[in-house]
């Protein structure tokens, strides 16, 4: 033991003594002063194919690489779409059944089709990629690889030659066809079937076909008018479609990529389209090792884009417009390291080895405190380090749902409704937020989080079945009221009249880990307040989903993360025809209310207007009364960034934020140096221990020699 320790001491001493770079620098030393951003990923992204990727940890990468037609403005609020590779915003044309053009003011019922006419900017090139590499005579170099050619290939970087090609409208069409192709397994294929004209038919036609065959088959609804123009035809009216055009699902895909990646020899080496993106964006994926790290580097062929010169009020003061008009991107390389545990992540952030961090519950007290006025701010420690805090309420909701098909808690009769309302009062989400989230969330008053059209702040926006408006804030109704409701529901003091014992309810959750035990205990405690016994049934996620689908649940916990900033994307979670058990939709609680459904159908096709706002309020009132969900909470995202990290603004919709951001490597090097001085005294102690052992051994040796 002592020997290995002394060896370590020596090594550490040498490492720390001879260079300016601290021994705990977790990156190669040559990167010490480079213009590199350091970030992390906690789990291997499953898909990097834009037709399949559908989660935040995948968008982190592909949104920097693939460019859809539209994007969200980085600075402006409320969220606003701007053209990305499109020349301008799409031109919308309404058509009747006979395809005749209708005026803009036509009633939604009369609109049979909506055409989106889009023009693509000319002169945009793809990143250098072997799929485009050609011989001198113009044949593709790597589209028909022989076994010998494959022998030396382990990753994409091993191909000697690369090529490029201009982005054309046909690439967008090809991608939409891929979405429809059954073999692609796009998660939105079923959804798009309802919207894009000809999508369903195309899906059937191509079921047995190979991906390359998609090129030659036409989909009636989508068409490239010429090299730079395309048209997408939507069934009826669906104003939210423009938001989809900003998602990576609608990024361009060159057919060459599919032809290249479909070679079986490559997929055996994990070189597949789902794993090696090919795009026109500011970055390209140059190292791709999901087991350790992923590296994005500048795309040399990037078409160039200027930093926005307008923002919302306050952006100028915050320094967010200092780079207005300058060419993006600013950062040369981004290294994403695999980091599964939060402890190491947070500590490396404090050491300066990650440039930004969220705040986990465990590091909360160290990072953030409330001021005397109740403002949440950084602690002195953090401010001394120059760290800045940004917070924003996420467009997500965590809720507890009731299965409306259940005999006890479900259904729309008064008893069950009163029971649900009583439970909703008892679940003290303010306490939940303060215990488990350190206050980083807001108890939900309804379905819509702040920032979404239709959200109301203040007295008019509270849930009158759970809250009272007292002293200018929403105050949860008392337990007495909940108990009164419970008694009215037929369970006085929580006693089930059928059994004469405490009412037993079941909560299904997809979490089984012991880390979640406190939360589960908390839920139990909440219902205990009413005298109801809650049994938690934790299962792994796929079992949980199976139960949801079969309706074999009573109460369940789930969450939703908005795809786009429109109320429709929340309300559809309660739309009857989306019922999970009957229709396999997203209405997991199987809520059915004819009135609500009618309002939804009307609201869905409207553009934002005072009239739509009123409809939304009516819908909120309905679901507050029926309480198909306990609305739970909207989480708040906190982002900490070091002093050298600039141009950061929380933007929940834009995923391609990287190109706007910049870092100051010199400042970073200086500060890291200061923060990472190793402690030397333990080495001394270990050294003394070794000496003592050696001394004892020497004494022993002398003694034995004497004998």
């Amino acid at each position: 033991m002592s020997r290995s320790l002394s060896l370590l001491c020596l090594i550490v001493w040498l490492l720390t003594g001879c260079g300016p770079i601290p021994a705990n620098h977790p990156y190669p030393d040559r990167e010490w002063r480079s213009n590199t951003l350091y970030s992390s990923f906690s789990e291997r992204p499953k898909h990097l194919d834009p037709a399949r990727a559908y989660s935040a940890n995948e968008y982190v990468f592909i949104a920097q690489i693939y460019e859809p037609l539209l994007q969200y403005h980085y600075l402006k609020r409320p969220y606003q779409l701007t053209p990305l590779t499109a020349e301008k915003m799409p031109e919308v044309v309404y058509r009747a059944k006979d395809l005749s053009i209708l005026p803009d003011a036509t009633a939604p019922d009369a609109i049979a089709f909506t055409d989106y006419l889009i023009s693509v900017k000319p002169g945009i090139d793809y990143q250098p990629h072997p799929a485009f590499a050609k011989t001198e005579v113009g044949d593709f170099l790597y589209h028909d690889l022989s076994d010998t050619a494959l022998a030396g290939i382990a990753s994409l970087a091993d191909f000697e030659h690369t090529g490029t090609r201009e982005l054309i409208a046909e690439d967008y069409i090809f991608q939409i066809k891929r979405l429809a192709h059954v073999k692609t397994q796009s998660p939105i294929a079923e959804l798009m079937k309802n919207y894009i004209e000809g999508f369903a038919e195309f899906q059937q036609q191509t079921e047995a076909l190979d991906a390359m065959a998609l090129r030659d088959l036409a989909m009636t609804g989508v068409e490239a008018l010429d090299r730079y123009h395309l048209r997408i035809r939507i069934k009826g009216k669906y104003p939210q479609f423009k938001y989809w055009l900003a998602m990576p699902f609608f990024a361009p895909m060159p057919w060459e990529a599919v032809a290249f990646y479909q070679q079986p020899g490559l997929s055996q080496k994990n070189i597949v389209l789902d794993w090696y993106p090919i795009g026109t964006g500011p970055y390209q994926l140059t190292e791709n090792n999901p087991n350790r790290r992923m590296i994005l580097s500048r795309n040399p062929n990037f078409h160039g884009e200027a930093y926005p010169s307008e923002g919302e009020a306050g952006d100028l003061e915050a320094g967010l417009l200092a780079d207005a008009g300058k060419a993006m991107p600013f950062i040369d390389r981004v290294v994403y390291t695999l980091e599964k545990e939060t402890i190491p992540y947070w500590n490396k952030f404090l050491q300066g080895y990650y440039d930004a961090s969220g705040i986990a519950a465990d590091s909360f007290d160290q990072a953030v405190q409330f001021s005397s006025t109740g403002e949440l701010g950084l602690t002195q420690d953090m401010r001394d380090k120059g760290i800045a805090l940004r917070k924003v309420v996420a467009t997500s909701i965590y809720y507890v749902g009731f299965n409306m098909l259940d005999k006890v808690v479900g259904g729309n009769d008064a008893h069950a409704r009163l029971l649900r309302q009583a439970i909703a009062i008892a679940m003290d989400y303010e306490e939940f937020i303060s215990i488990f989230l350190n206050g980083r969330g807001r108890a939900a008053q309804g379905l819509l989080p702040p920032g979404i059209f239709g959200y109301v702040e203040g007295q008019d926006g509270i849930n009158p079945y759970v809250y009272d408006w007292v002293d200018n804030r929403a105050k949860r109704k008392s337990l007495t009221e909940a108990k009164a409701l419970l008694a009215k529901a037929g369970y006085p003091e929580g006693i089930d009249p059928d059994t004469g014992q405490a009412l037993i309810l079941y909560l299904d959750t997809p979490s089984t880990s012991s880390a979640d035990r406190p939360r589960m205990n908390w839920y139990r405690k909440q219902l205990q307040k009413l005298g109801i016994k809650l049994v938690i049934r934790g299962t792994d996620y796929n079992r949980f989903q199976q139960k949801m689908r079969s309706g074999n649940t009573q109460i369940f916990m789930w969450g939703w993360n908005a795809d786009y900033p429109d109320p429709e994307n929340f309300f559809f979670l309660l739309y009857g025809p989306n019922g999970k058990v009957e229709h396999g939709g997203e209405n997991a609680g199987n809520y059915q209310n004819k009135q609500f459904d009618r309002l939804f159908e009307k609201m869905r096709v409207m553009d934002n207007s005072p009239e739509r706002f009123q409809l939304i309020q009516k819908m909120q009132a309905l679901i507050r009364r029926d309480t198909p969900w306990i609305f739970g909470l909207f989480p708040e995202d906190y982002l900490l960034a070091h002093a050298w990290y600039g141009n950061i603004k929380a933007n929940l919709m834009a995923n391609n934020r990287l190109k706007y951001q910049r870092i100051d490597p010199e400042l970073r090097a200086t500060l890291r140096q200061q923060w990472n001085q190793p402690a030397r005294w333990p080495a001394l102690i270990f050294g003394l221990l070794v000496l003592a052992t050696a001394y004892a051994a020497w004494r022993r040796y002398l003694k034995q020699r004497e004998r």
Binding site: Q366, G374, V535
Partner: protein, 444 residues
């Protein structure tokens, strides 16, 4: 109303069997020497006393009854009622009277202030925060005085009334060591119990549950895993091991094949697969697992079962080798020649002579199993998340070291108790080896 859990019954059954076995062993002359040797070393005796103390806590925690409200409690829960009920909101340090972190509170006038709220139970009797430290010292001293006095009186009473005790006390050093150990443990437990009426002696965890309560409750889990696994593993190991060594031929081939195959599968993966199986079963039969206790208990039992299935191979191999050796011994050969039936030879000659291997290996395996529980719980394939266990405590608390200020007490509490139990088991295993291993006997 009494409630029967499977592990309760098995644990009590195991203790009964152990007691019967000991009673039977006392009368056997050939075991006199090992037992005397066992009593020779203080470390072994002290370790045994500690193990027995832990075992009695586990046994107390293994008598469950249902209260009128439907809540299932154990006798230990009832004894620890102050700890169980004294739930706070979130973290509080050992002996604290305030929460560990600051939050918004309402003052009497209803104004929000930012600060550390008083605990609902810990130190709730304090009217004046300034005398906090004083009060802790006072409470500790009072408890010490009370229970040391009580124990002293009882000890004196026993000493006087039990004639012959003085003589034994002088002759048997083991009795002295064991008595002191048990007295010390009792005193510590009583003082902690007394003080925990006023304070959270080891603080509270994230949801404000008393950490002392959790660690004490984990003792049962540790013992159940260590003991029941052994119970499951022993029949397999002894049966297969002796049969293989004794009969040889195809029996030997089959048994060897069986344990080599099982042995070659990485144990963790086999356990993972089995635990997933239980989860699936529970998900598909929710009607059988309405209460949390039954769920957790079933999973615990199953974990013991699968641990037993994966861990019998080592002992089996040892026993097979030993039996092979014994079979060639003169007296066994003689018994064969006399036409004694094989099963009688097995029972009379082979089994008693391999028992020392069994005892040594059981003692060694116990500590290994307690340690294994922690690791398995870390990968979420251990005991049920709602079961109190050191593994779950460590798993839940491992992130607390990253907090600033540091939350160390959960980890420390789990560490201390687990360390004590495992250390005692290891020391006891050493003594057992010294006492029972014939090779050790040769060395003197």
């Amino acid at each position: 109303m009494m409630v029967g859990l499977w592990t309760d019954a098995l644990l009590w059954g195991l203790v009964l069997v152990m007691a019967l076995g000991l009673a039977a062993a006392r009368s056997r002359p050939e075991l006199k020497r090992p037992f005397a040797k066992l009593a020779e070393h203080p470390s072994g005796v002290v370790a045994l006393a500690v193990l027995l103390f832990f075992l009695s806590v586990a046994l107390l925690d293994s008598v469950h009854y249902q209260k009128s409200g439907g809540e299932v409690l154990s006798v230990l829960d009832t004894l620890l009622t102050p700890l169980r009920d004294g739930q706070e909101k979130t973290y509080s340090a050992p002996f604290a009277s305030q929460l560990y972190s600051s939050e918004f509170m309402e003052t009497d006038t209803g104004e929000p202030v930012w600060g550390r709220p008083r605990l609902q139970h810990g130190g709730a009797h304090l009217s004046d925060e300034d005398h906090h430290i004083q009060d802790i010292a006072l409470k500790l001293l009072a408890a010490c005085g009370r229970y040391l006095g009580l124990l002293a009186i009882i000890a004196l009473f026993v000493w006087v009334s039990w004639r012959g005790l003085q003589q034994r006390w002088r002759d048997l050093p083991a009795l002295r060591w064991a008595t002191w150990t048990i007295l010390a443990q009792l005193a510590l437990a009583l003082v902690l119990w007394d003080v925990s009426h006023y304070y959270h002696v080891l603080g509270t965890d994230m949801v404000g549950e008393d950490v002392l309560y959790q660690t004490v409750k984990s003792i049962r889990t540790g013992w159940v895993i260590g003991a029941l696994t052994t119970l499951i593993m022993l029949p397999l190991a002894i049966g297969f091991g002796i049969l293989a060594g004794f009969f040889g031929g195809w029996v030997d081939d089959v048994i060897q094949y069986l344990y080599t195959t099982l042995n070659s599968i990485p144990g963790v993966l086999l356990i993972a697969a089995a635990i997933l199986l239980v989860q699936v079963h529970m998900a598909n039969h929710p009607e059988n697992y309405t209460s949390l206790q039954v769920r957790a208990d079933t999973r615990l039992l199953f974990l013991c079962l699968i641990l037993g299935v994966t861990s019998w191979t080592g002992l089996c191999r040892l026993l097979r080798a030993e039996t092979l050796k014994l079979r060639e011994m003169g007296y066994v050969q003689a018994a064969f020649a006399l036409g004694v039936k094989p099963y009688r030879i097995l029972l009379r000659h082979i089994l008693p002579n391999v028992m020392h291997i069994v005892i040594i290996s059981v003692a060694l395996d116990f500590s290994a199993l307690v340690l294994a529980e922690a690791v398995l719980s870390y990968i979420n394939i251990g005991v049920d998340p709602v079961t109190y266990s050191w593994g779950n405590m460590i798993n839940g608390a491992r992130l607390e070291l990253a907090r600033e200020p540091l939350v160390w007490w959960s980890l420390m509490a789990a560490f201390c108790l687990m360390f004590t139990l495992v250390l005692a088991a290891n020391l006891f295993a050493d003594s057992v080896r010294r006492a029972f291993d014939p090779r050790e006997a040769e060395h003197g």
